[in-house]
């Protein structure tokens, strides 16, 4: 959450609630409702580390609000963020360990594990399809986020299929 907040502040100062709205507008229904409390906590931390600075604005009949702006070191941190490439996605390691260890325990069947996992993925895939259908078709960022999640799941499902092919041959 830290760097996306810095990135949202790059275009100009804003207060916490505006940032929450910006995030929701950008990501649409694809993004789970953002907890505004979490945003305030993160902003507090960013301020402490000198990446942003806040200014209290007095408001009539309402509590003061704090407007945050990006500092030079915040700008630098943001530049460094764009400079780095992101980590590769990881194989579903917990499932893999279950699959690898099942035969030694005698407590679970590998094919049954695969079938169960596949069901879960397919149900999630279905819910993602529904989400994509419900989301504004013109919100490209949101649609791309959902499509990314679907393609990852597709890869996981393909891999389950490979596991099943290999392990069924052994049976």
């Amino acid at each position: 959450m830290r760097l996306p907040l810095l990135a949202l502040l790059a275009k100009g100062p804003a207060h916490g609630y505006e940032l929450k709205q910006d995030l929701e507008q950008l990501l649409g229904a694809a993004y789970p409702p953002t907890n505004v409390g979490q945003i305030y906590v993160t902003l507090g931390r960013l301020e402490k580390s000198g990446l942003i600075e806040g200014e209290e604005i007095a408001q009539e009949s309402r509590p003061n609000k704090k407007i945050y702006r990006l500092t030079d070191s915040g700008q630098e941190a943001l530049r460094a963020w764009f400079e780095e490439t992101a980590d590769e996605p990881r194989v579903r390691d917990e499932f893999f360990m279950k699959l690898a260890l099942a035969p030694r325990t005698g407590l679970a069947d590998q094919i049954a594990l695969i079938n169960k996992q596949r069901r879960e993925y397919l149900i999630t895939m279905r819910n993602l399809s529904k989400l994509a259908a419900a989301e504004d078709r013109d919100n490209r960022i949101s649609q791309l986020l959902i499509e990314g999640a679907m393609l990852h799941l597709q890869a996981d499902l393909d891999w389950l299929e490979r596991c099943q092919e290999e392990l069924e041959e052994l049976e």
């Binding site: 079938n115 999630t124 279905r126 819910n127 993602l128 399809s129 259908a133 999640a149 299929e161």
Partner: protein, 266 residues
């Protein structure tokens, strides 16, 4: 601890957990099909029991070579099983002749294929109207049906085009219109997005979902999990057999729902 998900597991042979809504639209018992080509015989379908209710949308998924297309061909009478029986709307089809199957494929079963199989020297309009005319629909009625379907599929401006002038996605929509023109009870789709790009795939998915919502019964064969996820039931087909059969139309098991797969870390 018992997993509530297990309540939704069904094997093709087990009808007891299904609400009884009259006879299923499609029922298969003990279907077997072996291909004898060059080399060793290929056991494409090895004892399949399956039941599809009216209004159900079933996806059959599995690796290529698992026999899922052969299964679909058996369900549509395009190939005949070596053994086993098939009921359509409660009626046993074992004694059907080729001619009878051809009639069924015009009236009660619509099929779409991976490579569209449109008649290349007929216009889009004629491709769609032809099965209606063959089924004995009047020319006027056939034209009306065709106009409705093409409009529905966003192809009203393509009626006079030849199939070769259309994109793959458009050709598949024409094929879908042709398959649905006689309002078949059952729509069979064999890798309908297999030769389409990602956008075309989504389009096919959207259309299948839409027709399903209006009550169309669909059996879809695909290796694409995204496409399969449009169905409300998924059958995993491995090595000629049903390995798993699961309802998809329920909430994910974990409370986190979708947020886990959509989680963004800053």
């Amino acid at each position: 601890m018992s997993d509530p998900a297990d309540d939704s597991i069904r094997t093709g042979a087990d009808d007891s957990v299904r609400p009884d809504t009259g006879s299923p639209l499609l029922r298969a018992e003990g279907l077997v099909k072996t291909h004898h080509g060059e080399g060793a015989p290929a056991h494409a379908v090895r004892g399949v029991d399956l039941s599809v209710r009216h209004g159900e949308f079933v996806a059959v998924t599995g690796p290529s070579g698992a026999g899922k297309s052969t299964l679909l061909h058996l369900l549509g009478g395009l190939q005949r099983p070596d053994s086993g029986s098939l009921w359509l709307d409660g009626e046993c089809t074992d004694a059907y002749s080729e001619a009878r199957w051809a009639v069924e494929r015009r009236r009660r079963i619509g099929i779409v294929f991976q490579f569209f199989n449109l008649v290349s020297n007929l216009t889009v309009a004629d491709n769609v109207e032809l099965p209606a005319l063959l089924a004995g629909t009047s020319a006027r009625q056939a034209r009306a049906e065709r106009e409705t379907l093409l409009a529905e599929l966003g192809l009203e401006n393509k009626a006079r085009s030849m199939p070769g002038e259309l994109s793959g996605g458009e050709q598949q929509r024409v094929a879908l219109a042709r398959a649905l023109v006689n309002q078949p009870r059952l729509l069979l789709a064999d890798e309908p997005a297999g030769s389409l790009d990602s956008k075309g795939t989504r389009e096919v998915m959207r259309l299948l979902s839409r027709f399903h919502q209006r009550g169309q019964t669909i059996v879809l064969v695909t290796h694409d999990a995204r496409l399969a996820s449009a169905a409300d039931r998924a059958i995993s087909f491995f090595d000629g057999r049903i390995a798993d059969d699961a309802e998809l139309d329920r909430a994910p098991r974990r409370g986190t729902g979708l947020s886990g797969v959509l989680e963004l870390k800053g």
